[in-house]
Assembly symmetry: C2
Homo-oligomer: 219 residues x 2
DNA sequence: ATTAATTTTTAGTCTAGACTAAAAATTAAT
DNA sequence: ATTAATTTTTAGTCTAGACTAAAAATTAAT
């Protein structure tokens, strides 16, 4: 069965919302991320349920079926592989690739994405540290922590980010925070949970809890 | 102003039809290539005229404006650069890339296509020998002949094809006819204008006028 | 346990881009 | 120069995917 662009975008966003929780996903939360009105979302959920990609109970929210999950994973796989291509081969920065990958992820061709995978030498993570699902929809569990969970005086390595927005990524770049950086937590302020960090050979820097929450690390 | 997918496909096809002739383009000829009905074409032509991309006189056919031409050329540029990418970098054969490039040509990003161009080392022709328009919409005139126009006993080099369909390209591959091949016209049958050809060190082969017409050569 | 607030759904509309059937122009044929 | 054939346009419809406004469920608050 074939998927329209609109359907693909809904599935992708429902997948993202499912990831965080065991609960069913609310109409409103989908409306927010798709930038549509709740009424439009209800419409689409009924279509997706009809096609067997979500289970949907009126007023009770949705959940992806196995098939729906696989479609979502294949879109995410394409998105992340294209991001690797854009950064590794075309020389983009990590904060510039999201919008273009949003378009490229809808290109339909099994062979294309596998040839691309091979051309890129089968990368396991994208430029933001997010894991790339396999062709079979396997997604390696990396077990990263949020930097906000790291204890005082511990040292960790920056492995990824939990948010792809350009402004956030540009901020990290400005602070000299990039994948692989070694970080030591020097101070955690109880007032606002902001954090003082030492990066390798540099002067300490200062980040808000909001930033720390969106940085993924390995201890 | 922004172009929809449908609009881009119309502009591309009108461009192709304009190329052959000085005449205005008929509604029916567009309908045939877009696989739409004439009534739908009329509808769209009115929209395109409204946007200033074609000049359109009821019952008298259409013609691209300068702006329309530039849009069409930018789509063709993208199509051909992606084809080079697919063949050179991903290892596709020349008969496999058309459908994928039809999708990729609609990806919207100025920087992307220029970075791709540079990554591919600024190719001048695509895998079928078609010239790649520059960013400014300049398209080098290559002055190729159709093999069907070459005189008896003349020798020429295969530079391109006038048709991208997979079956045609597969036939050429089977006959060992690829870009750069040296060809000598051994015989031209007056009955059906079929042609006997010698390719470099090989046994002579035999092709129909229809095939000869779609092969582009330099003498 | 009601009532109020919030969320979700239904009903009805709109737009882009397709369609069919019929009308209007144009072109070809006597 | 008419008439016939062909091409193109108009008028009216349909579908996907959005919307608003109002109705119906659910959840929160007294």
């Amino acid at each position: 069965m074939t998927t329209s662009l609109a359907e693909e975008n809904y599935l992708k966003i429902i997948y993202r919302l499912c990831e965080g929780t065991k609960e069913d996903i609310s109409t409103n939360s989908i409306a927010e991320l798709t930038n549509n009105k709740a009424a439009s979302v209800t419409d689409m959920l009924q279509k997706l349920a009809e096609k067997g990609w979500v289970t949907y109970q009126k007023y009770q929210g949705v959940r992806l079926t196995k098939i729906g999950q696989n479609i979502a994973l294949s879109i995410i796989r394409k998105h992340r592989l294209w991001e690797v291509f854009l950064v590794e081969k075309l020389g983009y920065n990590w904060d510039e690739v999201h919008e273009i990958a949003e378009q490229l992820e809808h290109i339909e061709s099994e062979t294309l994405i596998n040839k691309l995978d091979s051309f890129l030498d089968f990368p396991k993570i994208d430029p933001h540290g997010d894991p790339i699902p396999s062709q079979e929809g396997e997604i390696p569990e990396l077990g990263y922590l949020h930097l906000s969970e790291v204890k005082l005086n511990e040292t960790c390595t920056l492995m990824g980010v939990a948010k792809d927005s350009a402004v956030f990524l540009q901020l990290l770049t400005k602070l000299n925070l990039s994948l692989g950086a070694r970080l030591e937590v020097l101070e955690i302020n109880t007032f606002d949970r902001s954090v003082s960090l030492k990066i390798a050979e540099q002067e300490p820097i200062f980040i808000s809890h909001e930033v720390a929450k969106n940085i993924l690390v390995k201890v």
